[in-house]
């Protein structure tokens, strides 16, 4: 009933606190596949441990977060959907940091890139579920490198004189330190 589960919960939190100041998690259980076998009168429901394929060793195993371990620190963008899709849920939201193991700045950068990829339409299958969802929507306009959400951006009615124009932001400032392979400066305000 309620009391034993509360106690168990309290015990777990106690032990979790005792496991050190860092994010040392308790030993994780592997994924199991539920297999149901019916033989005449008896039905056996078994959870078989799935043997995961060996994950390839990252080039820099001494890194703290997956990005540092794979030497991708300033090298990804909103276009690298194969990398970004590993950090999102099936409805498009980001996975929490304590699960993925990213450091704070990389988590924010990946979140910004995922938002830009969603707005560019690069992740068409990671949409939130709409039960009745009116399918014919108003025509979607193509866009890319969108920093702000579509609904929150307001028109700039007066841009101002040439020497102090109100800028239209493009891209995201968190990605300012990305590696550039051309010597042209990247403009973040158009």
């Amino acid at each position: 009933m309620a009391a034993p589960s509360l106690l168990r919960g309290a015990f777990r939190r106690l032990f979790a606190g005792l496991w050190g100041s860092g994010w040392v998690s308790p030993p994780a259980r592997t994924l199991r596949e539920v297999v149901e076998v019916t033989e005449g009168n008896t039905t056996i429901i078994e959870g078989k441990i799935i043997e995961d394929a060996e994950a390839p060793t990252p080039p820099n195993p001494s890194g703290q977060c997956p990005i540092c371990r794979w030497n991708l620190k300033h090298k990804y963008d909103y276009v690298d959907v194969l990398l970004l899709s590993q950090f999102i849920r099936s409805d498009g939201g980001m996975l929490p940091r304590r699960i993925t193991g990213l450091c704070l700045e990389e988590h924010k950068k990946i979140a910004a890139c995922v938002q830009m990829a969603h707005r560019a339409g690069l992740l068409p299958n990671h949409r939130p579920l709409l039960p009745e969802g009116h399918v014919p929507r108003k025509p979607k306009l193509n866009r890319y490198l969108t920093r702000w959400s579509v609904r929150s951006a307001k028109p700039i009615w007066k841009r101002g004189p040439k020497w102090c124009k109100v800028p239209m932001p493009v891209g995201h400032l968190l990605l300012k330190d990305n590696v550039k392979y051309v010597y042209k400066p990247l403009y973040y305000n158009h």
Partner: protein
């Protein structure tokens, strides 16, 4: 050069060519920069401002242009009818829904040199919202201009082999 007659080479040098440009998923500014260069004739070694050596450019799929940033909501196109109270301001979204070729047309018009040749060069520009082109224009086309902006691949455009080949960066 080697085996052409002088007449044929002169014809080929001074003829007016027709170029095709696909504006799908392209920013209108970059489209305009490439188009203006061809319309003026600056891509030819025989260029001179008085030479009238520009070419025709046909732009298709103007309905599917892509603005970077939040310009669809933030960019405002203004005009005045000349009458009092006639100041009209329209966002890029509204203008595009009203007329899908207007944004590209205005961008190119404003990028051309501000002289009397501008109107003639605009007459050599042909804009189409979809990829349906009249037959007589289609017969004239010589070459396609490469797209200025590299269109990123969507997640469902990657093959399952490529997705499997990409390593898992973290394990749960």
């Amino acid at each position: 050069m080697a085996s052409y007659t002088k007449a044929a080479q002169q014809w080929a040098t001074f003829a007016r060519a027709w170029y095709l440009l696909d504006a799908k998923m392209q920013p209108p500014g970059k489209i305009a920069a490439v188009t203006v260069r061809r319309l003026e004739g600056r891509h030819k070694p025989i260029y001179h401002a008085l030479n009238d050596c520009g070419d025709h450019v046909v732009i298709i799929n103007t309905r599917h242009i892509a603005f970077s940033g939040n310009k669809w909501e933030q960019k405002v196109y203004s005009s005045h009818t000349g009458y009092p109270g006639g100041f009209k301001q329209v966002t890029a979204t509204q203008l595009h829904l009203k007329d899908p070729t207007a944004i590209v047309k205005l961008t190119i018009y404003r990028m051309l040199p501000k002289n009397l040749l501008r109107r003639t060069l605009m007459q050599r520009l042909h804009l189409f919202p979809e990829d349906v082109i009249p037959e007589d224009i289609e017969k004239n086309l010589l070459q396609e201009i490469p797209q200025p902006h590299i269109v990123p691949r969507r997640l469902d455009e990657y093959t399952p082999e490529e997705i499997a080949a990409f390593p898992r960066v973290w394990t749960p």
